[in-house]
């Protein structure tokens, strides 16, 4: 399946965010088009993670608005974002440590559960059927990410690389239209990075999922993303396709510390 990059699906306008007196983001605007892979890069403390947190409503910006499929939001909240089809992974893996891999991914199906508490308590027809149907869906994601062998392992016991993959799996189980990835390759070795790149490209390619990712590995970012936003000290200093960004003097100075 080939998904052409389409219209703007997510548009951020003049977003500013501060914690007390500390400004994390200052007047940032950028857009994300449907089916594209959009990268956010920048040095440590540039406000990249804050940016993702604003998009899916974990942080509330003081100014600016988010336009999602033409709908204006002054502030998101995580539940609304999830309902609107935004899912994400976390920089410091936020898996549910007390559950196994299947259950972690089943939580991703939560919004699609229709049966109520009473039906679930009695393992009543609809609840049971639903549970099994979602299990089948989750198994598809497990197959896609090639983690069949660990499906019943408690996530706390998994090595770091696999935990990252399960984190991605849980986000995928939501069948999102927009997927936010917060440093999906941090702390991985070369092979794991290659696997992760393959998964990201496959997700984008097979399901047409729009992807917004934060990454430090420049080679990876320049290879897989369609467009790149560059942040520094909470301000936007570059935006465009990888080649444009690479050529921008401001970006070079931010990364290499060249003075002008």
């Amino acid at each position: 399946m080939n998904h052409q990059i389409g219209d703007v699906i997510l548009d951020l306008k003049n977003v500013s965010l501060a914690f007390g007196g500390v400004k994390a983001l200052t007047d940032i605007s950028f857009d994300v088009r449907e089916h594209e892979i959009r990268a956010i890069i920048g040095p440590n403390g540039a406000g990249k993670s804050s940016m993702l947190n604003v998009i899916n409503g974990v942080y509330r910006p003081q100014q600016g608005e988010i336009i999602l499929r033409g709908e204006h939001f002054a502030r998101m909240n995580p539940y609304k974002a999830a309902k609107a089809g935004i899912s994400r992974t976390f920089q410091n893996i936020a898996l549910f440590k007390g559950m196994n891999v299947i259950d972690n991914m089943m939580t991703g199906r939560n919004l699609k559960i229709r049966s109520n508490l009473i039906q679930q308590a009695f393992w009543w027809g609809p609840a049971r059927r639903e549970e099994l149907a979602h299990r089948a869906k989750v198994e598809e994601v497990i197959d896609f990410l090639e983690i069949q062998h660990i499906r019943k392992t408690p996530v706390g016991r998994l090595p770091y690389g696999l935990q990252k993959r399960v984190d991605l799996g849980r986000a995928l189980a939501m069948e999102p239209s927009i997927l936010l990835l917060d440093e999906p390759m941090a702390g991985m070795n070369v092979e794991e990075k290659q696997d992760m790149c393959r998964f990201i490209l496959d997700i984008n390619d097979q399901f047409g999922t729009t992807i917004v990712l934060i990454e430090h590995d420049m080679a990876v970012v320049m290879d897989i993303s369609d467009r790149v936003v560059v942040l520094d000290y909470g301000k936007k200093i570059g935006d465009g396709n990888p080649d444009e960004v690479r050529a921008s003097p401001e970006v070079i100075s931010a990364y290499l510390g060249v003075s002008h």
Binding site: F19, S49, N53, V58, F90, Q91, N92, A94
Partner: protein, 309 residues
């Protein structure tokens, strides 16, 4: 007006004692992240030791000075609190580092049972009195300002002074001594403190000992007022809303929280109690703390928690 002020002052005096108990909670929570349910049992244990030694010593040594007997008993009780602190660290805390809050809380409940059991086995479980020579007679003050003046218990007044003095001493200890600085470092970050060579285990012994001394002072004041008996363990339950109100990690919070709760309890009992049946002191403090929490989840002076993802 005079009656209102009397109630208010009575509340402040009671609040001072709550502050002392709350102070014990806060000290231990700051330094070891343990919510110490055994604080009440420590108060009981210390007060029992104090009362019984003050009673026994004159017989054993033939002392006839009340003052001397009290002093020696106080020192012995203090030494016992050190032993308790050392044993708790040695037998319990060092094995439970990095456990979850709930587990630690349960452990202190276990410690509470053990302390109560040992305390009553050693010292008996009747009602004992502590007589440290506090004046019992009430005094009238400010009779120029109000008709009839204000009726205050001298004993309460002295107790409040002692409590204030203790808090002052603790503040000095924390700010001015090397140990105090180490304690503050541990309170901020266990691992960082350990990595620069602060011996965590010794710090814990010290902080539990200090909390034990605070418990002893609270026990003596309380005991000389109302007698030492098993029900003293429930003062821990009276101190809890105080820490919630003031914030688990704040010493000034414990003091001010104690005063607020003390005053709130007395005023509510006097003015609200008759309307709805009386005996509302205990739950009123909790409801007050609860309502307060809804607006400021980290307590008056607690540190604000910011979620990071």
């Amino acid at each position: 007006m005079g009656f209102f002020l009397e109630t208010l002052i009575g509340g402040l005096m009671a609040g001072m004692l709550y502050s002392l108990v709350a102070l014990g909670f806060v000290l231990i929570y700051k330094a070891s992240g343990v919510f110490n349910f055994a604080q009440g049992s420590m108060v009981l244990f210390a007060a029992l030791a104090m009362a019984r030694f003050a009673e026994w010593l004159p017989h054993w040594l033939g002392l006839d000075s009340l003052w001397l007997a009290n002093t020696i008993a106080f020192v012995i009780a203090g030494a016992l609190m050190f032993v308790v602190a050392w044993l708790i660290e040695r037998l319990v805390l060092r094995y439970l580092v990095n456990q979850e809050g709930a587990t630690l809380l349960m452990a202190t409940l276990g410690i509470a049972y053990v302390l109560e059991g040992i305390g009553t086995s050693l010292f008996g479980n009747n009602i004992y009195s502590i007589d440290v020579g506090m004046p019992k007679e009430p005094v009238f003050i400010l009779d120029g300002l109000f008709e009839g003046g204000l009726l205050i218990n001298k004993e309460d007044f002295i107790a409040a002074l002692i409590a204030a003095l203790l808090v002052g001493l603790l503040a000095l200890f924390f700010q001015k001594t090397t140990t105090g600085r180490a304690l503050r470092a541990v309170a901020d970050d266990h691992q960082a403190a350990q990595s620069i060579g602060i011996p965590l285990n010794r710090i814990w012994v010290i902080i539990w000992f200090v909390a034990g001394l605070v418990a002893l002072v609270a026990g003596v004041i309380w005991g000389s007022k109302l007698g030492v008996q098993f029900s003293l363990v429930t003062v821990a339950l009276r101190g809890l809303p105080v820490v919630i109100l003031g914030g688990l990690t704040s010493i000034p919070g414990a003091i001010i929280g104690g005063l607020i709760i003390g005053v709130g309890e007395k005023l509510s009992e006097v003015y609200l109690g008759p309307m709805i049946g009386g005996g509302i002191e205990i739950w009123f403090a909790y409801q007050l703390a609860l309502v307060f929490l809804l607006f400021r989840p980290q307590g008056l002076f607690g540190e604000k928690i910011i979620d990071r993802v």
